[in-house]
């Protein structure tokens, strides 16, 4: 069993990766599992904000089929 989700990357996390991509992962995949599978080096640039369908989630959030998963490093401005 697998899920297909839309993954969106932003700021420095786009470097060498992608902006937006439809991807398939095993059912039960968590946010942090997907981040590691994609190959984001969050030891260098810490994870800032994770959202699923526009709502903030934690790293252990279990993704579901059809989710839009957005991944940001720490960003700020004003």
């Amino acid at each position: 069993m697998s899920i297909t989700i839309t993954v969106k990357l932003f700021a420095q996390y786009r470097d060498g990766l992608f902006k937006v991509k439809e991807m398939t992962f095993p059912k039960g995949s968590t946010a942090i599992y997907v981040i590691d599978e994609i190959g984001i080096d969050h030891s260098k640039l810490p994870i800032g904000v994770l959202m699923v369908n526009g709502v903030h989630v934690e790293e252990d959030f279990v993704l579901e089929n059809g989710n839009v998963f957005t991944i940001f490093p720490k960003v700020g401005g004003g």
């Binding site: 700021a11 420095q12 800032g48 904000v49 526009g54 490093p73 700020g76 004003g78």
Partner: protein, 580 residues
Amino acid sequence: MADKIYRVDMSNLSFKIEDVPDEWMGLGGRGLTSTIIAAEVDPECHPLGPNNKMVFAPGLLSGTSAANSGRNSLGLKSPLTGGIKESNVGGTIAGVMAKLGVKALIIEGIPKDDSTFYHIHVSQNKVEIVACPELVGKNNYAVLDAMEEKYNKKVAVMTIGLPGEQKMLISNISVRDPKGKLRSHGRGGTGAVMGSKKIKCITVDAAKFNESGASIVDPEKFKAASKIFTKALQDNPISGEGLPAFGTNVLVNIINEAGGLPSHNFRSGFSENAEEICGETMAENIKERGGNTTHGCHQGCVIQCSQTYNDKEGNYLTSGFEYEMIWAFGANFGIKDLDQIAKIDALMDDLGVDAIETGVTIGLAVDAGLIEFGDGKRAFEILEKDVAGGTPLGRIIGSGAGNLGKLYGLVRVPVVKNQSIPAYEPRAIKGQGITYVTTPMGADHTAGYAVATNILNSGGHVDPLSKEGQVELSRNLQIASAAVDSTGMCIFVAFPALDEPECLPALIDMINARFGISLGVDDVMNLGKNILKTEHEFNLKAGLTSADDRVPEFMKYEALPPHNAIWDFTNEEIDEFWNF
């Protein structure tokens, strides 16, 4: 040499240099400007009449070697909101005033002869006030050029363009930055007040003496604290990495993804244009076209969030190309071409008009039937010809969104206290909404930046879509911001201050070392509380009430996509803010 108060009376073109009263001694920046306005200005005065005053004051650390300490405060009664205003700016003015030993520059009165404008030049123990007919009708860059020719590049310049001369409510006071570009004492129609006093420009010259900077009682302690503070700024992922790489415009995507980016005049919290106008696209353009992603708005800035932005041929278009501007003209008004927004930005710098007030008004002008959604060419034309030229259309746009809405019978008018709401939707980012309605400034994002904790996960996380914890969050941030605005520090020190434990104590140690005092964190927070209460009391005396601490009504019954969020705070919940 002890700092002094420089006081200019425009009614008889005279000046006085006064000792600093004891009760003002420990104050700087916003703390000082709001205290002086509250003490000396009748809250019921007409903001453009003879009894309003302008108070310029550098922060407590301005003029020292402390990183990011070059911010200046301007206090006055706002002709846009009818309440007190503190407007904060970078540029060179704060450092130059502090080096000259000017604790505050107070300007009062209106000249009897109002047939021309005046140039005020402040130097050591001296203020010259001279008519400047040759500058009348000029915009900001022409004034900067004239001042550079007359003096030197270190002279600080504050100026108004044509909209300020015409006392338009969207006008700013523009301030020269270290590279000869412009920053703004923005929001609230500050330029109109300067115009009402018939002042075209103010220059301050500290070049001939005291080059070493503002005096410091304990230089060793100061140096040690300054080192820790600078390191905290550089090590923090936001102030040290994100802001220099992408600028403030990095926010477009994250606010949009969270459903809080006001679009189509606040009809949606999501813009389909985001990718075209976002910080990532801007950074790519800058890289390809040979601009610069880093530029400091004031001396001693280690964050360098500003930038220079070129066109496709590599020719300079603008600098200080910020999120609020790009949001207002990109998402809210619908221009998809970043270069076109950059051209409007450069024009608006030259005219000296507020990015948020002007942008929101142009967005609302679509609903008024005055312009087509996304027509950047026409927006440029209206600003260049009508606003600068003072045509009836220019006057309408120049009066700000609240007044435009009244004139055209519009209901969806995004203002609080008649001041346009900035780039964060209160329905979807509720902590920020609490700041908009409660701050004495009118809708102002910098007064208590709850976006940090609602969206950016700085200082923890408070769910942006829930009412829970928002009043307390906004109150704490507003108290801290009022204190930070008194130090001369850039508001972006808030990011390391929220997340790096050593940052705030180092900041306080620098203040203690400079003045030979021993403030603690509680003292600084009490300072913030006192400032807010002083400002709130001024507004109450000016006739504002708790009924002004509200969002526009449409936000209570129009659900905002994509989260279908509405504004659901009761009046009692909002008014609880002032219980401290």
